[in-house]
């Protein structure tokens, strides 16, 4: 069903128009044919009449001739003349009628000389009668003058008549057929087209009306407040389909809106009740505020008295701060002296450190001397050994030398021992020196810390002085500000009265607001009832 309703209706009307045109054209054509067929029938009848009139003219002439011959009365010649004079025009007329038919024209051409011949014979016999009398004329007629000619004329004309008759029959049957055709076309065509058009009309109506009824029913149920129904989708793409879809969308939208309204109404209802509660609370609150204001007024009076007291105290504070400033100046001087003393100690510590370092260096050079003495003792020992060897080689004479060598060796050994002792002592000295260096460093550190600490103390005392100066200033400021405070307290008392009045006004406004809210609440309830009429 891809076609739109408009297209369907157009198609139906178009079909009806086509059928009407078909029938009109058929009737027109058939009528024309009938007319032409009947013309041809009339034409054949005319031809037949003409042939008959030609023959009758011939017979009139013959009759007249015979009458004259028999009577000799000239008056009998009148039909003869009439027939003789009328035969050629009639023959000419006949030829004009049959000019379309070759056979008939040919026959007419054949009959014309025969007629001339016959007329000439008849004239000759009339002349014979007039001049020679009846007898000779009768002889001429008996001799058969003109009889054969007349017979052949008759025969030819009879042929022509037959031919025309045959044509007439043919044309009549053609006309009959055409008539039958027209008749049947009318008889069958009208009912068939009526049926087709009726079917098309019915189907279009059905196609349009049924869904429209459905839509109408749904619309009626919406009007009655039922939003639960949906139109079943028919899957149509035409106007009806679009109408149904739009209708469904409309229903969904109405439903959503209804729900939104319901929600809104509910919110309004709850909000208005909340506001009602709040208003009641505010009313209570303003009563409390009134009570609080009277308390505050009392408190302000108390604060006023307190600030007078504080002003007095601030003056006392100022005096004592001045004293503190003086004392702290003394303290600062003492600290400065301390710093100078510590700095002296520090210098002396530096000197001690220098001395100790010198001592350390000297003990190192003593170490160097000990090493060389040890080396000497070693070499002496070797020398003693070598001397002993030499003494041994010398044998008995060398014995005394061996003793000397042994003594040298003992001396070397002793000097080695002595250097070892010196080394040991020197080690102790070096250890002590190191300890002294360490102690000096620690002393230096302690002195530095002392300098730092005394600087901090000086700083602290300076800060203290500053602070006491500031305290004096602040105390003065406190005196001034407590005066201002007193004035401010008076102003607060006045303001409190204003607040009290404003609280009264607020209370009145609250009552009015409460009334308005009650109205709003009722309105919300009504709105809710209205919305709830709709079935979802």
């Amino acid at each position: 069903m891809k076609l739109t309703i408009g297209t369907k209706i157009y198609a139906g009307y178009f079909l009806a128009i086509v059928i009407i045109i078909f029938f009109g054209v058929t009737a027109y054509l058939n009528t024309g044919k009938l007319l032409s067929d009947s013309k041809w029938v009339t034409h054949s009848n005319e031809v037949k009449n003409n042939i008959t009139s030609v023959l009758s003219a011939m017979q009139d002439a013959e009759t007249g001739q015979r009458g004259y011959i028999i009577t000799g009365n000239e008056s009998y010649l009148a039909p003869y003349f009439q027939g003789r004079d009328s035969i050629y025009p009639k023959l000419k007329e006949l030829k004009g009628l049959i000019i379309d038919n070759e056979n008939q024209t040919h026959r007419a051409d054949l009959v014309k000389p025969l007629i001339e011949k016959k007329l000439a014979k008849m004239e000759e016999i009339i002349q014979i009668r007039r001049s020679k009398g009846f007898a000779s004329a009768e002889a001429g007629i008996v001799a058969g003058m003109g009889k054969q000619t007349m017979d052949s004329i008759r025969a030819i004309l009879a042929e022509m008549t037959n031919d025309e008759n045959r044509l007439l029959i043919e044309r009549r049957s053609i006309m009959e057929v055409t008539y039958q055709k027209t008749n049947s076309a009318v008889l069958w065509g009208i009912p068939i087209s009526v049926i087709i058009l009726a079917l098309i009309g019915f189907s279009i109506t059905r196609n349009v009306a049924k869904p429209l009824r459905q839509v109408t029913r749904t619309a009626e149920s919406i009007a009655n407040g039922d939003l639960s129904g949906n139109i079943a989708s028919s899957g149509r793409n035409d106007e009806i389909g679009a109408l149904m879809q739009s209708f469904n969308k409309m229903i969904i939208m109405l439903r959503e809106q209804n729900q939104e309204i319901l929600k809104g109404v509910n919110i309004i209802a709850s909000t208005s009740s909340q506001i009602l509660t709040s208003t009641a609370q505010i009313a209570t609150g303003s009563a409390e505020t009134a009570a609080a204001i009277s308390q505050t007024t009392t408190t302000v009076e108390e604060v006023r008295q307190a600030s007078q007291l504080s002003s007095q105290k601030a003056k006392n504070l100022s005096d004592s701060a001045n004293m503190v400033a003086r004392v702290s100046l003394d303290g600062q001087n003492a600290v400065d002296e301390t710093v100078a003393g510590i700095n002296n100690i520090s210098k002396q510590m530096d000197e001690i450190a220098q001395t100790v370092i010198l001592l350390s260096e000297q003990s190192q050079s003593i170490g160097g001397i000990i090493a060389s003495v040890t080396n000497l003792a070693d070499q002496s020992n070797l020398l003693a050994v070598n001397a002993a060897i030499e003494a041994a080689k010398a044998g008995e004479q060398g014995k005394g030398f061996a003793v000397v060598a042994q003594e040298i060796r003992n001396l070397a050994e002793q000097s080695k021992q002595a250097t070892m002792q010196v080394r040991k002592i020197l080690n102790d000295v070096q250890k002590a020196t190191n300890a002294a260096v360490l102690a000096t460093e620690q002393g230096n550190r302690a002195v530095e810390a002392g300098v730092k600490k005394s600087a901090q103390a000086g700083e602290a005392i300076r800060t203290l002085t500053e602070s006491s100066r500031e305290a004096v200033q602040i105390a003065t400021q406190i005196v001034a500000s407590s005066q201002q405070q007193l004035i401010g307290m008076d102003q607060i008392g006045m303001a409190m009265q204003n607040i009290n009045q404003a609280g009264m006004e607020t209370s009145i406004s609250m009552t009015q607001a409460e009334e308005a809210l009650t109205n709003l609440h009722e309105l919300g309830q009504k709105l809710k009832e209205l919305v709830e009429q709709f079935k979802m």
Partner: protein
């Protein structure tokens, strides 16, 4: 008091335990040079010692066994120096100074041996030299004369000087 008496008694007992030295024949006295090497104490007869000196400079020699440290210049004379530790295949025991050279000599041979310390000369009786105990291994028996009571190893200078193993006769193959 008790302790003092006790220690006094003990000292006397120790003194009395010593064997009194007997007078001996002085002809069996031998003069030895006592030296230390790798925490052991050695002795060698002074008759075969030419002199003792410190090792100041030496020149290593290529193409010789590892027990030959190198050559030194002693009073203008070029002498080879041996490391007995390596020669005797002894384990390396600690760090020694190895800065003394004892120069041995006899009629045929002359070389130096390294020592950590030269302690001096000592005269001992030949009878005091005990045979080599079995526990001493590594040192070839032929290089040892014996051991004294105070664990000094007496080396045999004659066998060291006459040993063919020390003689290096090697050609460097091209």
């Amino acid at each position: 008091m008790k302790k003092e008496i006790h220690s006094l008694l003990k000292m006397r007992a120790v003194a009395m335990a010593f064997e009194p030295e007997q007078k001996r024949d002085t002809s069996t006295i031998t003069e030895i040079i006592e030296f230390a090497l790798a925490a052991e104490s050695y002795g060698i007869e002074s008759a075969f010692v030419r002199e003792v000196c410190t090792l100041k400079d030496f020149t290593p020699l290529p193409g010789v066994p590892s027990f030959i440290l190198g050559i030194v210049n002693v009073h203008g004379q070029i002498l080879p120096v041996l490391n007995l530790n390596i020669f005797f295949n002894l384990p390396d025991r600690g760090l020694g100074e190895l800065n003394k050279v004892i120069i041995l000599c006899d009629d045929q041979m002359e070389f130096g041996i390294l020592a950590d310390e030269v302690n001096g000369t000592k005269a001992i009786y030949r009878e005091e030299i005990l045979p080599v105990p079995l526990t001493i291994t590594g040192i070839g028996e032929k290089y040892l004369k014996g051991v004294t009571k105070d664990h000094m190893i007496i080396l045999s200078a004659e066998s060291l000087l006459s040993d063919k193993n020390i003689v290096v006769n090697e050609e460097v193959n091209q």
